[in-house]
Symmetry: C2
Subunit: 244 residues, 2 copies
């Protein structure tokens, strides 16, 4: 039997289920593997100073008019009139260094806003998976992984990330949450063949139609970055900025 005093680890399979969870005092890890939280990690690797997540395209446009760099994606495609879409490759450029970036996406930025009751909100992706695991183990607070899904529906890739994170920290948390058990089961079976599994999924098939197959391959790489972006006061920053 697990000890009663252990902190808990739960998985919210889509943002539509968030109202059922009490986030107070807990750490949320938001994930949107294809592609918002993966691309955010890329932008930080390439020197972005901060990301301002906004829910609506109109809000992003207000920022654009005031001169900020803006990324906007809806239904998997860049919204016309903005600097960037949602592909990780969009952010692999020198000119973003030390800039602020405003970002709005179909699912990921929405999930961040819906998690605002949490004590802390971290940005998780396969790219920084181990760094997120290390952080939540070190802090020893109850964790809720929020999968961004696709328009409030369940998706496989975010669930796989939740399962991967659960597998890395399972000795440190109480994990009798059904969604966590499901996510970890799927991860355990598919971890050595992620790409072909994801390709079966409806979201990936939508991506294939959009010709952004290489984004999927990039976003499934594990542990190429060693930092954890955090949402604080409406901004996303990496630790080096937060502790300044």
């Amino acid at each position: 039997m697990k000890e009663e005093t252990k902190t808990t680890f739960e998985v919210v399979l889509t943002p539509a289920l968030l109202p059922l969870y009490d986030l107070k005092g807990k750490t949320v890890v938001v994930t949107d593997i294809l592609r918002a939280t993966s691309s955010m990690c890329v932008a930080f690797e390439y020197g972005i100073r901060q990301i301002i997540p906004v829910s609506h395209v109109e809000d992003a446009m207000v920022h654009r008019k005031s001169g900020l760099k803006t990324a906007a994606e809806r239904d998997g495609q860049k919204v016309e009139g903005f600097d960037f879409g949602n592909s990780p490759f969009d952010f692999m450029i020198k000119e973003l260094e030390d800039q602020s970036l405003v970002m709005t996406t179909t699912n990921g930025t929405k999930a961040i806003h819906l998690s605002s009751n949490a004590e802390r909100i971290y940005i998780g992706s396969f790219l920084n998976l181990q760094a997120v695991a290390d952080r939540i183990i070190k802090e020893n607070k109850s964790v809720v992984v929020v999968c961004s899904g696709w328009k409030d529906k369940f998706n496989l890739e975010d669930t796989l990330f939740a399962g991967a994170l659960a597998a890395l920290v399972e000795n440190e948390f109480d994990m009798n949450d059904d969604a966590t058990i499901a996510a970890k089961t799927i991860w355990d079976v598919q971890k050595n063949d992620l790409f072909s599994f994801i390709k079966k999924a409806s979201h990936a098939q939508r991506f294939e139609r959009l010709g952004i197959d290489k984004d999927i391959e990039f976003c499934l790489q594990q542990n190429i970055y060693n930092f954890v972006p955090e949402v604080a006061d409406g901004m996303i920053k990496v630790e080096k900025d937060l502790v300044q």
Copy 2:
């Protein structure tokens, strides 16, 4: 590649996600393995003529006062003042033969009511799994499996049923729905060890506290009944009554 013309098979992981699905013209299979839809199957095996599913305990009480047999469960326990709770063993009695039964449960009867836009609603459990599979293959209509969950949260046992049904009919339906792929993946891994897997889950742990462990074992039996209860005009009946 699957043919475009194939009918679709989707899984709704909790009733909270039902508003995202268009049920019009489709067949819904409602499942609440622990225990509503399993117990309904038992009641039909023991000769119940029809079940009237109601959402609220108050509505069930109105029927009780008018003299009907009533089953009411909340939070896993029989509600005081009613004839039966939600255990399959409650319905293994002769005196229910040819009677009408009013039933309200925490999750299952709610899921039935929320599925009312569907063309047909079937009652699915492991007890009549193959019969449900045969029926939906024969009818060749698009199918949505509605998992009743636990108070709108995801649960493992209903997802396992969805995965088991998916596995039986996968050659007949288009199955690129992420939730279906997830459910089938979990089923494929755990199908030979259902009981110990279910015992890990939060719902089963709640059941253990209630001392109804034998209900779980009973409800995980496969294909002991060969009929498919159907919801029509607010009543649940089995085929022999529907065709009279």
